[in-house]
């Protein structure tokens, strides 16, 4: 590859904007972020774009490329036909600050609402112990780079305007990592059902499709949380079994939590 490519970039701020087309020289192996930075350097010094590691690990350069939420640093130009312009837009689910930069602070507010990791009692020797096979499941969730592509593609946040009722896939992942943790004893299920709105998710899996870390958000985080909510609130047999287990003292009861600013996010 070589020659030139056209990028059709949305330029503007909270007061409005428009698409502006730029033609820029490209070389083999370039990604969309390279082309944007070249345009910024050579043609539009005031073009706002958030980026950092250029290695797909910081989650900063999230934007929409040809209509799909993507990391610009991980999207090669040769994915697209050479003659066609590549459309680049800011994330749809969050307010635009300028050009390709959006205000994602709503996500950090949601993070603070989640009751943090709360371990139970230590072993008699003062240690905490857990088996690797028990934490394998939650370690998948630790791969999250908080790029918020899943939040952007979720139609509940993106198109339905229900940020008031649903925290989004990223925080379902965090909730799952806490709820499934073998040492955690906090009970977040009432919050997951009501305040965080797991019932709003209709599992169309777009969050999983766009995740650059290939976290199985729907299968491994959201659906297991939905099933735990069913155990607690909708399944009479499980409720009965849970009550019997509680009477026998077979299962440690989790500590109830209230929603509110957490002291230290895990």
């Amino acid at each position: 590859m070589g020659g030139e490519r056209t990028l059709r970039i949305w330029r503007g701020d909270a007061s409005g904007g428009q698409f502006v087309s730029y033609r820029t020289p490209v070389e083999e192996g370039m990604v969309v972020l390279d082309a944007i930075l070249r345009i910024q350097a050579e043609q539009a010094n005031d073009l706002a774009v958030r980026w950092n590691c250029k290695a797909g690990k910081c989650g900063s350069c999230s934007m929409e490329i040809e209509g799909r939420p993507r990391l610009a640093c991980m999207t090669r130009l040769n994915l697209y036909p050479p003659e066609a312009a590549i459309t680049v837009q800011p994330l749809k689910a969050f307010p635009v600050i300028k050009d390709l930069v959006t205000d994602v602070s709503w996500n950090y507010e949601q993070n603070r609402r989640i009751p943090p990791f709360q371990p139970g009692a230590r072993d008699p020797d003062g240690q905490y112990r857990m088996a690797q096979c028990d934490v394998d499941r939650v370690q998948e969730f630790r791969k999250c780079i908080e790029c918020f592509l899943c939040q952007d593609v979720c139609h509940i946040l993106r198109d339905r305007e229900r940020k008031d009722a649903f925290v989004g896939p990223r925080f379902m992942v965090r909730l799952a990592s806490l709820e499934m943790h073998p040492l955690d004893v906090a009970d977040r299920l009432p919050l997951i059902k009501e305040a965080f709105g797991v019932g709003l998710c209709n599992i169309t899996r777009c969050c999983t499709e766009v995740c650059p870390e290939h976290i199985q958000i729907t299968d491994n985080a959201i659906i297991p949380l939905k099933e735990r909510v069913v155990d607690r609130y909708y399944d009479p047999i499980q409720r009965l079994l849970g009550w019997l287990r509680g009477r026998r003292g077979g299962t440690a009861r989790k500590l109830p939590m209230s929603q509110g600013p957490a002291s230290a996010p895990a």
Binding site: G12, F19, E64, E66, R68, D134, D159, P182, N202
Partner: protein, 284 residues
């Protein structure tokens, strides 16, 4: 440099089905809708026939288990000995066809309808909610969106449909086992196998694969625990959870292949029963 004004902040469309995607995003939902519609139309037609669902020793999976039968072998009904409760009861409504499938199909239908994979499939392809990723939903903004927390709350009963599905796996394997034994007119049994035996055995296996990958099953066998082993030594529940997770990772594949094959199994038995095709087997 050229400038093209657009009305929407960020340049995003808010129209139904609006998107900046230039790929053929509609192909997936279209094929899904066509596949599911085709199956529903065929299954409904087959269930209403009430005939040609049995060709010794094969029983169509749509009609298994046979609860009642007329015993008219000439029209492809199961023999009386095959029915759990014998002849059709007098209380059966006259306006309903005498079809055992009408008593059976609601259970697998409920299992598939509430299945987490099929929910994705039909929310996308029939409800357009959304039709594809980063494509505006068909009916966004008309009323407050509640997802599965209101009208669709019944989806939470998927595990109860699963319990029935597990029973059906056993029954279908029994049917496949029974398909190895030809019942001769003189009352004797002859061991053997035919193409129909393989069809029914494959059908039971594919349905088992689909059922074992169920998200609810994966949860119930171990996923609901925070501590699957606790001391690092894999427990039977941990092994079961790992197995269910393996099937679960391929749930969509099992769902489609088993859906196609169960309809094909019915069609195969039907065509053999009607005499349209000859079953290759070791009996004749």
């Amino acid at each position: 440099m050229s400038i093209a004004p657009l009305p929407r902040l960020g340049g995003h469309s808010t129209e139904p089905l609006g998107t900046a995607r230039a790929d053929r995003w509609w192909v997936g939902p279209l094929f899904t809708a066509a596949g599911l519609s085709g199956f529903v139309v065929y299954a409904t037609w087959a269930a209403l026939q009430g005939a040609h669902y049995y060709a010794e020793p094969y029983l169509s999976p749509f009609y298994s288990p046979v609860l009642f039968t007329s015993g008219e072998l000439a029209s492809g009904n199961a023999p009386l000995a095959h029915a759990w409760f014998g002849q059709w009861p007098s209380w059966w409504p006259g306006w309903l066809p005498l079809s055992p499938a009408l008593l059976i199909l609601p259970f697998p239908a409920a299992f598939r309808f509430t299945c987490y994979y099929y929910r994705k499939a039909y929310y996308r392809s029939f409800a357009g909610s959304p039709p594809a990723c980063a494509v505006s939903p068909l009916m966004a903004g008309r009323r407050p969106y509640r997802g599965e927390s209101s009208l669709l709350l019944f989806q939470n009963l998927h595990r109860y449909a699963l319990y029935f599905a597990l029973i059906f796996v056993v029954i279908l394997y029994y049917d496949a086992f029974r398909a190895f034994f030809y019942h001769r007119p003189d009352g004797s049994w002859q061991f053997g196998a035919g193409v129909g035996t393989l069809v029914l055995l494959t059908n039971a296996t594919l349905l088992a694969g689909y059922t074992f990958g169920c998200h609810s099953l994966r949860h119930l066998v171990g996923g609901r625990l925070d501590c699957l082993s606790c001391d690092g030594r894999p427990t039977p529940r941990f092994r079961l959870w790992r197995l269910a997770s393996w099937f679960n990772g391929r749930h969509m594949l099992w769902a489609w292949v088993s859906l196609f094959w169960v309809a094909f199994s019915d069609l195969y038995v039907r065509l053999v029963s009607m005499g349209w095709i000859t079953d290759l087997n070791t009996w004749n």
